[in-house]
Point group: C3
Chain length 405, copies 3
């Protein structure tokens, strides 16, 4: 098989079909070309992968061309593995340029991003630095990621919104990534810092270290929507997802990887790993939503729409729409919550499909937090006269103030 | 009218009087010259205005000279509008230099800041970059700001302490400002980042993004007093005001625009937009003071002097001096608070001018949080035996530890 | 006495013995050579001291050589003072090089760090910048620090783990350090910023200010262990100590100086000055551990091993191992805590050496928080039916999830 210069779109499609027709060929669920940062002491270690563009269940034609170009230069692409990663070399770039010929002049703006990547690489390839700097990765299955490149591709899929939160297998991602010092967005091996500490400190050349972590920051890789705000880049980890219109305030907020928002949300508290918050909700100052790693027995928490978590509240159960958790209280799976008979009727009315035990003759019925999980229109409060945690039917729909903050 | 070289202070004053005597002339409440950052794709958009010095109800002579210099170059200054913004041009600089002649040699240190600005501009004006870089803005009325320059001038007035918190009209400020990525203090249009993402990422030239917001950070524009500390620049938004001696710790604190302190305050919690905290008070770790946008029904909260907000407490009502809100509790407008008859007498004694309902024969009187708003010497606690939120007369004046933290 | 070139290790030791034998000689408890940043306006003020390596109760041979080299150049080292600080000069470097001759070729990696420092300085000494840039400091007693160099040496001793937390005298450290603006790790006098504000702002050369504080950040000076993570450098102050495996999340966490961890700890909350947290413990999101400056009446708080502080909890008393403080509650010295008779027996069983008042016939016994200080296996909760704060025997050992977060 050889990769030829195509003459028009039909010819390009013919070439794609040719490549895809090979025995065992698999369309990748995701792929992309990344610039990689390698270990200063251990250059075989990939510390970071920066994707100018990622493909997720899309652009299978480009995938075929990339695979064909690799094969043409003698690389055996293993379709039976869940992922495949390889160096981008000059010849690969040249071959893909040929195959992309019909698109070269139209690759700009939002059009033909993969072609834009290749055009830029062709230009860079003249540079000596090119070698070892670029890697191409294909995911053939959503299995646990085996390489840093695959982890980054998945983090990009989540953070770009191309894959849904909690939809990807990230098992073992922590062990695949190196713990490094981040300086101006660049990863540095801690061991390298140690090796050069005496010299750099005495010369006044010790680097600025913003963090030491396995993950980079969201804003180092992702350009948010025009109406999204992140007031402090340290507050959102790469792999988080922020829907358009979301605001992350800098006080006590944090959005971990594989967590985030699915609509415009005001965030002044913590959205732990695995937590998803819906449109119009408000995570108050210092509010904590527990993640699967901290107090929810592995049950991921979803928060519905127009729900308000008061300042310094703690939520360990999923909540539906239009709920309120009052400031300063904690609703965990095991928290006993009192509901009066009359409020219980209203709550049942607002949640017609849910089966809840009904009140008998007693004035109050008691539920565990988990029994109220996911219900709509609940207002959790602590009665300040007797300390009882109670739930009532919330009286209002919580709306996000669209202009301010 | 022409702007001439003045020969001494008396002559300068004569020129000022001449300019001010014109029909319809208005003294501006605020004015200043800013270096502006323009949109990379849309240069007509002003993304940031940096003022080396602002004038607020002061230096009306300089204002007259600036207005005269504009008029002399043919610019019609519209005194009937609430604000007027114009480009600073070479000729304007030359004219003002002439008028400022008697002060040129004394403009240094804290003296004659406007003259210092003009002297520096004269020097810069030789540079090609000068064009389109500098803007002069006058506020004739405190109406809602119409231009980014006017918004910035008001934020400077607040953050420099020249205007009192909550004294200025900031209506619509959010819609006037662009949401941009901030990189090393420079604003970048998100659309420009998108247009250059492929190239910059592949070349390893993608900028460091510290935040995406409409507002810059306080420390990017304001030099605090010698004994003021801000341990993390992301924690204070431009437009906040920090009185000398205030310390902003980096844990869970935040001071929003149009909010801050009027004396030395230890801040480890959140001072939301519109909140003002008095001298000697202590906003404990994670404490939240609610703003007009979050839970106070639009009533701005003031906190008095020597008041302590315990760690992770939430305050939604104004408090007087020497109050204590215990760690972990929330006092909101609607919170029912029990007060014993004997404590009520002491509270009334400490607040002689306030009318509070008196205890009858019952042991406890109950108030809504809002009924206790603004009182001095109240200690809010939750009785840990029965969960009741109670208020007592606080036994001590809270003093700020002056040396440590 | 003269400092000679030694010919082998035995000769080196002889020279050391010779120096140490002088009348009044004292071995320093700590010493090191620092590159210093001086005031831009007041160059006699030391704003920061950066140590490539510090010695703490170790390397007394190098100390003797350094002292001998100073004396040889005519400097009188005052052993009667608690500390001694002096400029590093070319001649000093030359003399120590001679004395270190047997080690010059082996000084690399982790070996002979003091010799590495001197070798690097010899190379730098050719540079004009060398003068006034380097200082040597000796601590002869752990008295209150008198110079910025001594404060920094102690902060390094704590942050490097060479000295135990709370073991050093830091009295008055705040008054010895200057409050400065930090820009890319460099300290800048606020007065200098003011003096150059007009010019720098108009030229677009105003520096990026990350913080205004007396202390620098931990990560500006310390390289953590390979498995330690600090997700935001603003969250850990220089002088904190982070044991290997500790993770500092960026949400609402903070570790102040002279505070930290003695084993792998997950930190999402505040570890105030003087607080020490043990291995395997988990400081939940927004949890506050009070320090001696805030609410503990000067009693420093230690937290044991495998103890969990729930999200937004507040702890003002020391805790033993395997305790739990539930999310959202506050346990302070004066908090009344109910313990049922049966739970009290279990708690006593788990704490055999502690004397606790025993239950009589009543169902509940009540303790003040301080009476339960330091006990193991206590679970603090708030009964959500009646608001009572209760303590029970915790049912589980809290383990840190080693892979995730």
């Amino acid at each position: 098989m050889s990769l030829r210069t195509t003459i028009d779109e039909a010819d390009f499609k013919a070439l794609v079909a040719e490549i895809e027709s090979q025995e065992g060929y698999k369309k990748p669920i995701g792929f992309g070309i990344a610039r990689v940062d390698r270990g200063q002491l251990n250059p075989e270690k990939i510390l970071q992968a920066t994707f100018p563009f990622i493909n997720w269940n899309e652009n299978f034609g480009s995938a075929a061309i990339f695979i064909g170009a690799l094969q043409e230069s003698g690389v055996e692409v293993d379709f039976s593995s869940s992922e495949f990663v390889y160096d981008v070399k000059k010849k690969f770039v040249k071959n893909t340029m040929n195959a992309f010929t019909p698109y070269l002049n139209h690759a700009m703006g939002e059009a033909h991003k993969n072609v834009q990547v290749i055009k830029t690489l062709e230009w860079i390839a003249e540079n000596e630095e090119f070698k070892k700097r670029y890697r191409i990765v294909f995911l053939f299955e959503d299995d646990k990621p085996l390489s840093p490149e695959a982890v980054y591709l998945k983090l990009y899929a989540l953070s770009s919104g191309k894959a849904a939160l909690r939809s990807l297998n990230l098992t073992g991602a922590f062990s695949v990534l190196e713990n490094v010092a981040w300086s101006m967005g660049q990863p540095i091996e801690l061991e390298w810092l140690r090796a050069h500490e005496v010299e750099m400190k005495l010369l006044g050349e010790y680097p600025i270290i913003e963090s030491v972590d396995k993950f980079p920051r969201f804003l180092s890789h992702i350009i948010p929507a025009d109406n999204t705000r992140v007031l402090d880049s340290s507050k959102v980890r790469m792999g988080a997802q922020l829907a358009a219109g979301t605001t992350i305030m800098p006080g006590a907020s944090y959005v971990n990887f594989n967590a985030g928002t699915t609509g415009a949300v005001m965030v002044e508290g913590r959205i732990s790993s695995s937590v998803v918050v819906g449109r119009g909700s408000d995570v108050g100052g210092g509010a904590s939503i527990l993640g699967v790693l901290s107090g929810t027995n592995g049950n991921p928490v979803s928060i519905g729409e127009n729900t308000l978590l008061g300042a310094n509240s703690v939520t360990g159960i999923p909540l539906g729409n239009a709920c309120i958790v009052d400031a300063g209280i904690a609703i965990l799976e095991g928290t006993k919550v009192g509901v009066s008979a009359s409020e219980l009727s209203k709550i049942i009315e607002a949640n017609p499909k849910v089966k809840l035990k009904k009140a008998g003759k007693e004035e109050m019925v008691f539920f565990k937090g988990l029994e109220l999980a996911g219900l709509h229109g609940i207002h959790f409060r602590q009665n300040s006269l007797n300390g009882m945690i109670v739930a009532t039917r919330s009286k209002r729909e919580i709306k996000l103030n669209s202009e301010l903050h």
